[in-house]
């Protein structure tokens, strides 16, 4: 009989282990993506929150950008998402088209001080009248260059598109084949090419109403030729060259660390991750934003850098709102966070951090934001611009071109056909 009891216990234990029981009543879960500096700062801010609220324990789950959306989507689909999560602006149509994919943060306005935020910024996180996400900071892609590499080549930072193009041959001649003025990965390249096209033609890339690309055939060809010209001029390495370093993050590749790749077109909110990985004493400096003569819009990819949302299944939404408020609006929170999530949108945080000298123009992301604020940026980026299928299509075609499997004309033609099909399906 004893054996029978043991066997039953084993069986029951195995069932029990599958039904996970929440350990403590006041436990919150929080997730985000980012680099090491953000992980450190956010964990520090969370520690401060726990000190101020001893009855609440916060479990943190953080990863790099790669795979984060996949992980979160699986959690949301299984109703096991964290209470507080960092969300991205273009995830809103995926998770909460009708506004019920996340909690409405306005319901917790008594513990979450929304008056610190501009209403126009809150609009970016609002779906169907419900405030699903609160923007933490705003960001856009701008140019940053490696000061030491450019000094070595004897050039000042380029001020217009022509000077960017002209730098390629000089880098090659003075420093060698491995040195490039810029490095662009797929998304960087897409953003930069779009910016150029906005400046030249005054239109965005996607015609949402028509569910298709906004460019004419000639313009699509020009879009791709911008890339081939840059590669031919030694301004950027080809995808083939980048691929030879394997599939890791660009800032982990040796040529970046050693300063062979002299610049990036990057989110101002993410630039410190790239800067910190350079071999000391090298550092980045903010570049000028190139503008075509007569352009009325810079074509910036301007959007909330990240947002915070509360899961629709959270059973402690008030505590979750308190945590968000602590990080964004309370001194102990925003001081621990510093600029690890960009320059805060929260008025209270921005004022205090400016007074104590944290927000200073010597910080790369702050300098970038000042530049962004000065540039004309009325043409909005479509949320479908970074549709994963569209990005994969672009990446695949560029690679085929670099491998000599397709010509640029064939690529442009194929891109139009397939991109329109993808957009039709995505926008419907």
């Amino acid at each position: 009989m004893k054996i029978k009891t043991i066997a039953l216990l084993v069986g029951m234990a195995s069932i029990g282990s599958m039904i996970s029981v929440n350990a403590s009543a006041d436990e919150l879960r929080m997730s985000w993506w980012g680099g090491n500096s953000r992980h450190k700062a956010t964990n520090a801010a969370v520690d401060e929150f726990e000190k101020a609220n001893p009855s609440i324990e916060v479990k943190t789950e953080y990863t790099g950008w790669g795979g984060h959306l996949q992980r979160l989507t699986t959690q949301i689909a299984g109703n096991t998402e964290p209470d507080v999560m960092q969300t991205n602006w273009n995830w809103m149509p995926i998770f909460s088209a009708k506004g019920n994919g996340f909690k409405d943060l306005r319901e917790y306005a008594d513990v979450l001080d929304l008056t610190q935020f501009d209403e126009s910024a809150l609009a970016a996180g609002t779906n169907n009248g419900k405030l699903n996400a609160i923007p933490i900071s705003m960001a856009a892609r701008v140019f940053y260059f490696n000061k030491d590499t450019w000094a070595k080549v004897g050039l000042r930072f380029p001020t217009n598109w022509d000077e960017i193009m002209a730098a390629g041959p000089i880098f090659k001649e003075k420093l060698g084949d491995n040195y490039f003025p810029l490095i662009l990965e797929t998304n960087d390249l897409l953003g930069m090419a779009r910016s150029y096209m906005v400046q030249k033609y005054g239109i965005g890339m996607i015609d949402e109403a028509g569910e298709k690309l906004a460019y004419s055939d000639a313009q699509i060809l020009e879009f791709f030729k911008l890339y081939t010209n840059m590669v031919d001029n030694h301004v950027i390495p080809s995808t083939k060259y980048i691929a030879s370093f394997g599939a890791a993050n660009m800032y982990e590749h040796k040529p970046w660390i050693d300063g062979e790749w002299g610049g990036i077109y990057m989110w101002n909110s993410a630039v410190n991750k790239y800067n910190n990985n350079l071999k000391p004493p090298m550092s980045l400096g903010l570049g000028f934003y190139p503008q075509l003569p007569g352009a009325t819009d810079a074509g910036l990819f301007y959007k909330p850098a990240q947002m915070f949302s509360i899961g629709k299944n959270s059973d402690k939404p008030r505590e979750a709102a308190m945590l968000i408020n602590f990080i964004l609006n309370e001194p102990a929170g925003y001081k621990a966070m510093g600029l690890a999530r960009g320059v805060p949108l929260s008025l209270a945080a921005r004022r205090a951090l400016a007074l104590d000298g944290t927000i200073s123009d010597t910080d790369l992301s702050v300098a970038g934001l000042a530049q962004i604020n000065d540039l004309p940026k009325n043409i909005k980026v479509s949320p479908y611009f970074e549709n994963p299928k569209l990005v994969s299509l672009f990446k695949g075609l560029i690679e085929k071109m670099d491998q000599g499997q397709m010509t640029v004309e064939e690529v442009a033609k194929d891109y139009k056909k397939q991109a329109n099909r993808i957009l039709r399906k995505a926008i419907k």
Binding site: G11, T73, A77, A243, F245, G246, P388, E399, K400
Partner: protein
Amino acid sequence: MYENRRLGLAYISPYIIGLLVFTAFPFLASLVISFTDYDLINAPEYIGLDNYRNMISDDTFYKSMSVTFAYVFLTIPLKLAFALFIAFVLNFKLRGIKFFRTAYYIPSILGSSVAIAVLWRAIFSLDGLLNNFLGVFGVEAISWLGEPVFAMFSVTLLRVWQFGSAMVIFLAALQSVPQSQYEAAMIDGASKWQMFTKITVPLITPVIFFNFIMQTTQAFQEFTAPFVITGGGPAESTYLFSLYIYDTAFKYFDLGYGSALAWVLFLAVAVFTAISFKSSKYWVFYSGDKGGK
């Protein structure tokens, strides 16, 4: 009797429950999902055979299927030949043989882990270990991961390197070949090579067949190595089918199509295995075949 059966079931319940919940249910659920349009967030919508029909005009489907078959046909013969060769060598009574057996088995214990794949990337990268080593001899750096053919080779090599488990099975088989047969052959004046091809290989064909099937089914499902080392590139040259399934389901959030792709892979492996079994009666010899019992 009945009491015993209940007790037995209770003992194996952890396995049975695990099998039902984590294997059988997802297996059947993916079949159902493959007939739907499902993005994980909104409710699935039944669309019949559309997902399967869409594959006919899907270039990526053909590309990644052919890449997968190329990978399998490249990996399996290399790996089996290598495992058999090493097992053959390690079957001799040499000094320190146990150390070598362990050493050659270690890569298999490490398995297809992410850490090993990262190591592999560091070895084959343009500025990696291999090019640095070749540089000593004045060889110019080779773009192992940037050229489609070399990239496939680099990814393949990782699996071939993990030949240990096949080797151990071969070793066991080699040791069960009766010594008397070699002695008889020796008396008849057979060379070492003749003994290997005429005695050893025929007698261990069942084990070769076993290793072949095991390795093939695993190779069809390879994911970690290409995902970490090349990300499927350059130009989809290492874009194995499992990567395509993953991207479709979890990057494009098209669970329906992803499930349909997974079922096509399952069927491809099943058909391939069935053909292998059919062919086995022409080249696999069981010791009971002749003479009988």
